[in-house]
Subunit: 90 residues, 2 copies
């Protein structure tokens, strides 16, 4: 169950389910996370093989994040959590 | 997503899905948790309305835990997590 330990894993996966995102977009899409926490969580999720980080040598540099197959496969989990949350967390 | 913050919530819910358990049984069923952590986690889960605690004035005292409707409703989430874990965490 290591994967669900991160406070922010689920909101980040939720955001990336819509496709690749730049760091800044991700920051806007995951409510009430600060930059330091987002960096930390993304590093952990990359190490766990949930997320791929791609950096492009543009000016300014572009960094994009997307889900791996392992990350994408968590979609049914998130769907069930959202159903549950809708019913029980009002 | 508050519910998934506890490191041990899922293994505890998993164990209680089979029915009511005494504290000691729960401790045996949730691998590698210590007594202090189990007490702490159960208190949090009780406060979140996931678990019901019943104490009986027997000698020695009996304490039983079971899932509320809200806790039971997490079953599909756990099923999906287990499917995912089986595929990706070997």
């Amino acid at each position: 169950m290591g994967i669900i330990k991160g406070r922010w894993s689920f909101p980040i996966i939720r955001a990336l389910m819509n496709g690749t995102m730049r760091f800044k977009e991700l920051e806007r899409n995951v409510s009430s996370i600060n930059t330091r926490m987002l960096v930390k969580e993304l590093k952990e999720m990359e190490a766990e093989g949930l997320v791929i980080r791609k950096a492009y040598a543009t000016v300014p540099p572009t960094v994009e994040y997307s889900l791996t197959e392992k990350g994408q496969a968590l979609k049914p989990v998130i769907v069930e959590i959202e159903k549950w949350a809708e019913k029980f967390l009002q």
